[in-house]
């Protein structure tokens, strides 16, 4: 069903793209216009601007404008040339050769060489929080300044995606090569080779980026200036957007904000621009704590939850259902898994089977439910809903509030919970963002977004390791299909929805960032329609 839906979506996307091209041709002579300032609004404060050693949207938004990377991606997961004009993967899958564009320079005028590529890859491997992302890389050879050969311990299908701007910024070795990279002052005054040059940062207020006149793609970028304004309060941000003070806000997910902005004249709201992140919202169990160590109890709760109510009522119909650990927009996702459709009788039966008979007061079990503080639609509301819903099968839910993020993170990462709402990103490829939740080798106390469910299944460990080295896309998809089936059956996690990230922009902004990485990719093609 979903596969057919996907085909349809793809066809629609192609039709739309063709239509857009045709329109562009008609509008004509409407070649992109130079000039103008783009004001981007965000609620997130970047710690610094160096995406090689820091993940997350706050840093990626800036880092991808300032630093170029070997490849970039379109809206349909297709790699495109960027700093690398072409690339080859060896037949055995054990090396990838990059051919860099000629004449490209960093913002300080120094040429970009394969030595810089080698330095960057090794820096990311050593310092980036996604340890699995470049783990198989053993070395980078630099036969000449324009060629870099990445050597691998075993085939690594996620490597091409890891070369995206959000994940592999190419740093100038002459700026970042000395001393400890974490404390390098250039992290706050970055020097890169991307379409925009860092100008100034007013701590916690805004940062300004100016057009790079020597960008290696001729004629780009079109914009003169990009200003990113940091607004801590989401309500203020929506009001500013409605007033027209801000031109673009990426990753808007609150239901009411989305609905309000959809109604605002002159604004376009698109649900594109976040497929790469693939943020999933789910309920995760502490699978080592009785009675949640019994899969039947977890499954019973799965059957007792009305997912349709959550999607339609709590999330206002703007979010998509998620059935498994891989985001549905990924080419590796399958919906051929148990859906846990609402079935209260089955839920009760499973609870009976698990030995949880109702007491005199009808209560079988009392449990706590946590959520990430600040998540209202996808967090607090859902957990509050569980309280009334699960009462129907004899489960009493106590909602536990955490005053702030560190409190929640400490509870969950130290296994002090029964079930928690959680929001976790796929980051494009399972190797980067999915494995960490399920590998038993990643049960690491005190580390949030490791395998905090303490889920352990040798079959899953084996399949994930195999799939992480399988270069044939069809075989790889089959392995992940098997993985998804097992994990959904074991139910350490109940999947609810894809986080509804929306990109909101003024309608006269052309080529807005709607690729798989959205605003975490260069704005070199963005321009203002001045008519």
């Amino acid at each position: 069903m979903l596969n057919r839906l996907k085909q349809f979506t793809l066809a629609a996307a192609v039709a739309l793209a063709l239509g857009a091209t045709a329109l562009g041709g008609a509008g004509a002579q409407a070649a992109p216009e130079d000039g103008g300032t783009l004001v981007v609004g965000t609620t997130q404060v970047p710690r610094h601007f160096n995406g090689a050693i820091q993940s997350g949207q706050a840093t990626a938004l800036a880092s991808t404008q300032i630093f170029a990377s070997p490849l970039r991606y379109d809206a349909n997961w297709n790699p495109q040339p960027y700093l690398a004009k072409s690339w080859e993967v060896a037949a055995d899958g054990l090396s990838v050769t990059l051919h860099l564009v000629e004449g490209a320079t960093f913002h300080d005028g120094q040429p970009i060489t394969s030595e810089d590529v080698k330095f960057s890859i090794m820096t990311i491997k050593k310092n980036h929080p996604f340890t699995t992302m470049l783990a198989p890389v053993t070395d980078v050879e630099t036969p000449d300044p324009q060629t870099a050969v990445i050597k691998l311990a075993h085939p690594h299908p996620a490597l091409l995606l890891a070369m995206s701007p959000a994940l592999m910024p190419i740093l100038p070795e002459h700026v970042y090569g000395q001393g400890d990279i974490q404390s390098n002052p250039a992290n706050l005054k970055p020097v890169g080779s991307g379409p925009f040059v860092f100008e100034e940062y007013k701590q916690g207020e805004y940062y300004k980026l100016k057009k790079n006149p020597n960008f290696f793609i001729k004629g780009r970028p079109y914009l003169d200036e990009v200003i990113v304004q940091i607004i801590g309060d989401p309500t203020s941000m929506v009001l500013s957007m409605r007033r027209g003070d801000i031109d673009l806000v990426p990753y808007v997910s609150a239901v009411r904000d989305v609905q309000m902005l959809q109604k605002t004249e002159g604004l376009t709201v698109s649900d594109k621009g976040s497929d790469g992140f693939g943020a999933l919202n789910w309920l995760a169990f502490n699978t080592k704590k009785p009675p949640f160590d019994n899969p039947d109890v977890r499954r019973a709760i799965g059957y007792a939850i009305d997912k349709k109510f959550i999607l339609d009522r709590l999330l206002g119909g703007i979010a998509q259902r998620a059935y498994g650990p891989i985001v549905p927009s990924s080419p590796l996702a399958t919906d051929q898994v148990e859906h846990y459709d609402l079935d209260l009788a089955k839920a009760k039966e499973l609870l009976d089977k698990a030995g949880l008979k109702p007491g005199a007061d009808g209560v079988r079990l009392t449990m706590t439910a946590d959520y990430i503080p600040g998540f209202t639609d996808q967090g607090r509301n859902i957990v509050e809903y569980l309280r009334t819903q699960l009462r129907q099968v004899g489960i009493v839910v106590e909602v536990r509030n955490s005053p702030d993020f560190p409190t929640w993170a400490q509870r969950i990462s130290n296994y002090d919970f029964d079930v928690t709402e959680d929001n976790v990103y796929n980051w494009g490829d399972p190797v980067i963002g999915v494995n960490r939740t399920y590998l038993s080798s990643n049960i690491r106390k005190g580390v949030i977004w490791s395998n905090t469910q303490q889920y352990s299944n040798p079959d899953v460990d084996r399949i994930l390791e195999q799939a992480g080295q399988e270069m044939d896309p069809a075989k790889r998809a089959a392995l992940y299909a098997e993985f998804q089936k097992i994990v959904v059956d074991d139910a350490p996690i109940l999947y609810l929805n894809v986080s509804p990230f929306n990109t909101v922009y003024k309608s006269n902004l052309k080529n807005p960032p709607l690729t798989i990485w959205g605003a975490a990719s260069p704005f070199d093609e963005v321009y203002w329609d001045k008519k």
Binding site: H48, G56, G204, E205, I230, I231, G232, R243, V447
Partner: protein, 339 residues
Amino acid sequence: MKRLLPLFSRLASTLGLLLAVVVLNFLLIQMAPGDPVSVIVGEMGGASEELIARMRAEYGLDQPLHVQLGVYVWKILHGDFGFSYYFKEPVLSLILQRLPATILLVVTALAVAVLVGTLLGIFSARRPRGPLNYLVTLVSLAGYSAPVFWTGLMLVILFSSILPLFPVSGMADVRGAETFLGGVADVAHHLVLPAVTLASIYIAIYSRLSRATMLDVLGADYIRTARAKGLSERRVVYGHALRNALIPVVTMVGLQFGQLFAGAVLVETVFNWPGLGRLAFESILRRDYPTLLGILFFSAILVVVANILTDIAYGLVDPRIRTRKPAAARKPKATGAPR
């Protein structure tokens, strides 16, 4: 020398107080769950145990608590406020960047509150049963009881969204102003809503306070004397009564300086005002101990300075109150009536 003695003792007690503030703040912050490394790791999307251990060691978080406290006090005594875990900048430079915005906001709000508050108090005192009196009471009580962030949001919805008169948030237009004067006007434009929001609570307090003392003073003998002399009502109220009615207001301003900072935390957060209050709020969320301790220490100093300024202001409002002059040196007045 003898005259300087009270000054020295005051200085000594102030320093002791500040030290106590540092120690207490340090211990209080430690009681919050989670630490800065857990926040940073959370925002990075996870990290290896080695990296976490490395960061904890780098920040000295692996040391026992008393060692951390000792190191911190030692640094403070040497004027070193430490390095922000989160922003990777010296705390002192972070604070100095944010301080002007907070001072601008707090001082403007205070000025608005005192001016509007006392005027309202005087108006309603002059006709204690008039309709204006009841209106002022109602409005000021509403301002006092409403939570600051709620008042702020309501003002934003009314004056930024429905009537697009003022900007929603921030201190200046990020696109930048053409001229210096244009920049000043831009900041003033952004200042209106936050300052009014912060002032709203204090307007109530000052209007109630000045109304009460004004009623008191207007009944005093010397006012009757002034009226008997045939002075105009305006001279009586503003020339004679106001000065005495202001003394409790001045006391209150001094006492409330600390609370104003607390109010600024909320107002700055709602209006995205780039001051110390918002920095404090962000530092709490991120468990950025050095930054938060630095801000608390700075606010303590500001409160102490405010108290000293209040004492000086007493002297200006009422020359009989001079802290440095021993009481005996004061010439007793012939009559008990104030002036």
